[in-house]
Amino acid sequence: MKKTTFIEAITQAMAEEMERDEHVFLIGQDIGLYGGVFKATKGLLDKFGPRRVIDAPISEVYIAGGSVGAAMVGLRPVAEIQFADFITPSMDQIIQQMAKMRYRTGAQWTSPMTIRVCCGGDVGGGLYHSQINEQWFFSQPGLIVLLPSTPYDAKGLLKSAIRGDDPVIFFEHKRLYRWIKEDLPEEDFTVPIGRAAIRTEGKDVTIVSYGLMAHRSREAVDQLEKDGISCELIDMRTILPWDRETIFESVKKTSRVVLVQESSKTGGVMAEVGAAIAEELFDYLDAPVTRVCGLDVPAIPFAPPMEHYFLPNAEKIGRVVKKVMAY
């Protein structure tokens, strides 16, 4: 069986959903003739035609807001924002229309749609092609926010997003696109939204992460194992609504938790996860809830030493886990 890359898994999910349901269509910049800057939509224009694979003008407001409108009249839009860095013009439409449509209309009108957003650093992308800003969407109830770390989850979650009745922001970490490969089942499958995955079972400390940082955490876990520390690694996969149960059960078991995210620390996803653990599980904890995050600076800087300095990695995570164990 041919190993499937993360990006191939994304392409397969879209192609299969478009085959399955004629209401699914794609819109975004460079997705048609060019097949996407990362080739996520390669071949789909030829297969499905220009009304289902729409090359959009440089109009992130319209790509988001227009998709909301199409969703309201029965379509299943899958919009692409080429880089998370360029999603800011869409924010008005995402926050005011997409996230609130069901709420503000008493569910008369809804916005079942997916916005795929390519994000993340560790690719030498520079200040404006490396950003990861899931925390902006995380603080908006009404949105589903996904950030998978494996081809299997990417394909299964994207299918769940397209089939579901809620608006989804689907982050794809570009560092994973061609790095991570795995065998995928031949048959149709989905991955449920709202459930975290336990990647390694352990008893000493819980590490919670997602996206590229799930892989960096895994590298740390392997090293810590050699040092005699047994880590339970949880990959959140769904950022909003996040899986409290799985995380809480693990923390109750290990009594120690390290939270790892790539984006800046202040106001991030792990700030909320950490606060919830502190609020609900105080009696179980043997050490302070501790985070390893990107730096609190405006974005990921370009020069390689600065970029690496910004990003959490296995070494940083390992050092923090040891501190938490020594507490």
């Binding site: 319209y62 227009g66 409108g69 029965g74 229309q97 709420y103």
Partner: protein, 347 residues
């Protein structure tokens, strides 16, 4: 195609034939204008009496710009309104009780009381409940038109907004996209000269907002927005073109709102002369005189319509004043589909 300015020269002796509309259509337009005006003025009174919370956005003076285009649209056509489209809500056929309930924020409001007065919406009649972000529904409405285009359906979208909203970037992105694909949509700009307190001359460096259409490759036309017949006919032509796949039209209706931006705005940035001048151009009064000249409206007939409209409005208000607010826990409903119930905090 160049933008053009239309103005209908007064015909000395109007007849149904030279107007080109049936008696039924003219009476329909008139009745909806009258109903909209009556309901709107009633809402203003009720607000002053403290009968509902928040504020109220009156559209008195500019009703022809919403009633005219909406009258005669199909049930499956979409209305993409802003906050002053009570005329579109009434004409498209949202039951009055739900319109009143929306303003009163009662449980029988389509939104269960979650938004704000004047955000009328009703899925069954294709009216999108608006957001307060200006040009919001222009963008979303263009998306609805894209949806019809993808599915090759011949439904049409009417998108309403004020001249102020045309300054927003997203408005331009939407019209640009609609021009590329000749989407089935008609853009109706209600140029009432004031965006809250900012005059139209401070909104754009062009005189006619319809000129903006030039940039997007479809026709733009500026018309007298207080002439219900002209507004209806111009929109009907544009709707027919949109339905036939010939693309969008931008119709700028010159009009005026008699009162403040909302009921808490004294609107003292305008001169009395300006207000008086526009009151003389009252669209309802003009329609009334036209129909009388045509011999299809008599004093008795008008009185009968007024009585009927008031009875309908009274009944709707009575029903809503007796209605409850939703339970406060309703705040937790309709965040997501039933698949994702929201975790509730108890304090």
């Amino acid at each position: 195609m160049p933008a053009k300015t239309k103005s209908k020269t007064a015909v000395s002796k109007p007849t149904l034939k030279n107007i080109g509309l049936s008696e039924e259509t003219l009476m329909g337009l008139y009745t909806n204008l009258l109903k909209t005006r009556t309901l709107d003025e009633r809402f203003r009174k009720l607000f002053r009496q403290g009968r509902f919370a928040g504020t109220y956005f009156s559209a008195v003076g500019q009703e022809a710009t919403t009633v005219g285009p909406t009258y005669g649209t199909r049930e499956e056509d979409i209305i993409a309104p802003s906050h002053r489209e009570i005329g579109a809500a009434v004409t498209k056929g949202i039951p009055l009780v739900h319109i009143v309930a929306q303003v009163y924020a009662r449980i029988n409001s389509p939104d269960k009381g979650k938004t704000h007065p004047c955000h009328y919406g009703w899925r069954a009649k294709g009216v999108i409940s608006p957001s307060s972000t200006l040009a919001g529904q222009t963008i979303v409405g263009t998306g609805c038109a894209m949806g019809f285009w993808i599915q090759k359906k011949d439904n049409v979208v009417l998108a309403f907004f004020g001249e102020g909203a045309t300054s927003r970037g997203g408005w331009h992105e939407a019209l640009n996209f609609a021009g590329i694909h000749k989407l089935p949509i008609v853009y109706i700009c209600q140029n009432n000269l004031w965006a809250e307190s900012v005059p139209a001359t401070m909104q754009a460096g062009i005189k006619h907002f319809a000129d903006r259409a030039k940039a997007y490759g479809f026709p733009g036309v500026t018309i007298d927005g207080n002439d219900i017949v002209l507004v209806h006919q111009t929109a009907a032509e544009a709707i027919a073109r949109a339905r036939a796949g010939e693309g969008p039209t931008l119709i700028e209706c010159k009009t005026y709102r008699w009162y403040g931006h909302s009921e808490i705005d004294p609107a003292d940035y305008r001169t009395q002369d300006e207000i008086d001048e526009w009151r003389r151009k009252d669209p309802l009064d003009r329609a009334d005189r036209l129909l009388q000249d045509l011999g299809i409206l008599t004093t008795e007939k008008r009185e009968a319509i007024v009585v009927e409209v008031n009875q309908e409005i009274d009944a709707a208000i009575d029903a809503c004043e007796k209605e409850k607010y939703a339970e406060p826990e309703e705040a937790y409903i309709d965040v997501y589909s039933e698949q994702f119930p929201v975790r509730r905090d108890e304090y």
